[in-house]
């Protein structure tokens, strides 16, 4: 993408699109490219993201498997810090589906399940559960809006066949999440369509990839992620799009091994939705870090570059 002449400069921030930002642990390490492309897209969509000061880990699955109060207090601590930001943000954005789910469950249990006092005891401070939490995908699709995105993009996906993989925690559990259908979500597919790509339908888009069992029982991840990859490949997709660093890691990092186990060629690059959106907004490699993916997206990007060359003035 270095061929792209200059990265277009970002427009002024829209005050209605100002949020607190909770990157979470993965975006500061294995998913740095998700963080970078998120910031690029935010800048170019007029969003302002202010990182929550001194945020801590949400505790993820290990916390809720171990201690109920701890699993609520860890995310509540970050929401408490966000609540103290000046001016008070209207929402905290989480790009990781697991963080998003844990933050929203904390709010839900504090408000609806009578856990406020216990969480306050653990925090040493009261948190009323009222700091709104949104997933980045929700904000991009519903606050910025697909029509506004269509006006802002300078490049297109030229019919690239993309399978959107939603995984578990973007839309589950149903009592905590809020912005898309639990069984048949469409946010990413609608985004793909708006960017000029071709959404690919397949039956495994909300099936589990095996998540953190990659550490403890990798055979589970090979089987579950294998089912997903096989289904996507058979549906004729050229690429996969995700909105969660844990999904990306299992689909991308484990893909070669799984392909070998399945005895089939898969070779599907696994993009964060912000990388493809960022490309359409004119982003270069330094903004999107597509080369960080384990399964190379070289061929796909080359084709997109060629087809886009005519579009860019």
């Amino acid at each position: 993408m270095s061929e792209h002449p200059v990265t277009p400069s970002a427009p002024a921030g829209d005050p209605r699109l100002s949020y607190a930002y909770y990157p979470g642990c993965s975006l500061h390490s294995t998913a740095e490219e998700f963080d970078r492309s998120t910031r690029f897209c935010a800048d170019h969509l007029g969003m302002t993201l202010s990182e929550v000061p001194d945020w801590i880990c949400c505790g993820s699955t290990p916390a809720h498997m171990t201690n109920h109060v701890l699993s609520l207090a860890l995310p509540a601590e970050t929401l408490l810090q966000a609540r103290k930001m000046e001016p008070k943000p209207k929402a905290v954005i989480a790009p990781c589906s697991a963080c998003y789910s844990r933050l929203r469950i904390a709010n839900y249990e504090i408000k609806e399940k009578g856990m406020r006092d216990k969480v306050a005891e653990a925090l040493g401070e009261d948190y009323p559960g009222d700091m709104e939490v949104r997933h980045l995908l929700d904000v991009v699709v519903n606050d910025v809006g697909l029509e506004a995105i269509a006006e802002k993009i300078s490049r297109h996906l030229h019919g690239l066949k993309i399978a959107s993989y939603y995984g578990c925690l973007l839309t589950r559990p149903h009592y905590a999440t809020h912005f898309d259908d639990t069984e048949h979500p469409t946010s990413m597919d609608r985004l793909v369509e708006k960017l000029g790509g071709t959404p690919v339908d397949y039956p495994f888009k909300t099936d589990c990839c095996g998540a953190s069992f990659a550490f403890s029982h990798p055979d589970v991840v090979w089987k579950l992620t294998g089912n997903i990859l096989k289904s996507i490949k058979n549906a004729g997709a050229q690429a996969i799009m995700v909105a969660c660093p844990l999904c990306q890691s299992n689909l991308d990092l484990r893909q070669s091994k799984i392909a070998k186990e399945l005895g089939m060629e898969i070779d599907l690059p696994v993009f964060y939705f912000t990388q493809l959106l960022g490309f359409c907004l004119g982003g270069a490699e330094k903004d999107l870090e597509i080369k960080k993916m384990m399964i190379s997206a070289g061929d796909v990007m080359e084709e997109l570059e060629l087809k886009s060359a005519g579009e860019v003035s």
């Binding site: 642990c25 880990c57 384990m294």
Partner: protein, 185 residues
């Protein structure tokens, strides 16, 4: 086996309700949780059976099965339950009960992962992935696990060598308070 409703032992059901806030009397055994469970193939007992054991007060049967430790928390069951039973929440509760009491099935490898993960959060406030992987591999006695993917990840700059720098010590305080609260129960 024939059961008289009046003879039902509800002690365990009450314990699960206290731990999770879930009312198991709502379950009418439709089996939808098991039908959608991606891990059912690895479980000694199906999620539906575990719900029944809890209803019947069959504590041993519920906690000795590997079911709760095989659960990957994907939330499919809780989302599809027509009676709004949070089955995944119950699995969490069963794991916590057996982990705390040391009674029943405990998956040693999963427990090691949980403990090492939480240890790094307590210490650093955020996840230190390299520290986690190293400590986990040593604790779980598989020092060379994931060596095949490590070089690629290092080349791509996906692994950070230094622990995260977080100024706040709030995570540590929260861990300590939660531990105290658990002891008071």
């Amino acid at each position: 086996m024939k059961w008289e409703i009046a003879d039902l032992d509800t002690v365990f059901q009450d314990e699960v309700r206290h731990e999770t806030g879930v009312d198991l009397t709502r379950c009418y055994q439709c089996g939808k949780c098991t039908a959608g469970c991606p891990l059912a193939y690895k479980m000694d007992e199906a999620p539906t059976a575990i719900m029944r054991y809890i209803q019947l007060g069959l504590r041993d049967e519920a906690v000795r099965a590997n079911t709760s430790w095989v659960c990957v928390s994907c939330q499919t069951c809780s989302t599809r339950c027509p009676q709004d039973v949070d089955i995944a929440g119950v699995m969490d509760g069963l794991r916590r009960i057996s982990k705390r009491s040391g009674y029943g099935h405990v998956d040693r490898i999963v427990r090691t992962f949980l403990d090492v993960f939480l240890g790094t959060i307590k210490r650093y406030g955020r996840l230190y992935e390299l520290g986690l992987i190293a400590a986990y591999n040593i604790a779980s006695l598989q020092p060379f696990k994931d060596f095949s993917v490590a070089p690629g990840m290092i080349l791509k700059g996906k692994i950070k060598f230094m622990p995260p720098e977080v100024k706040t010590r709030r995570a540590k305080e929260i861990f300590e308070r939660c531990k105290r609260m658990e002891g008071q129960q």
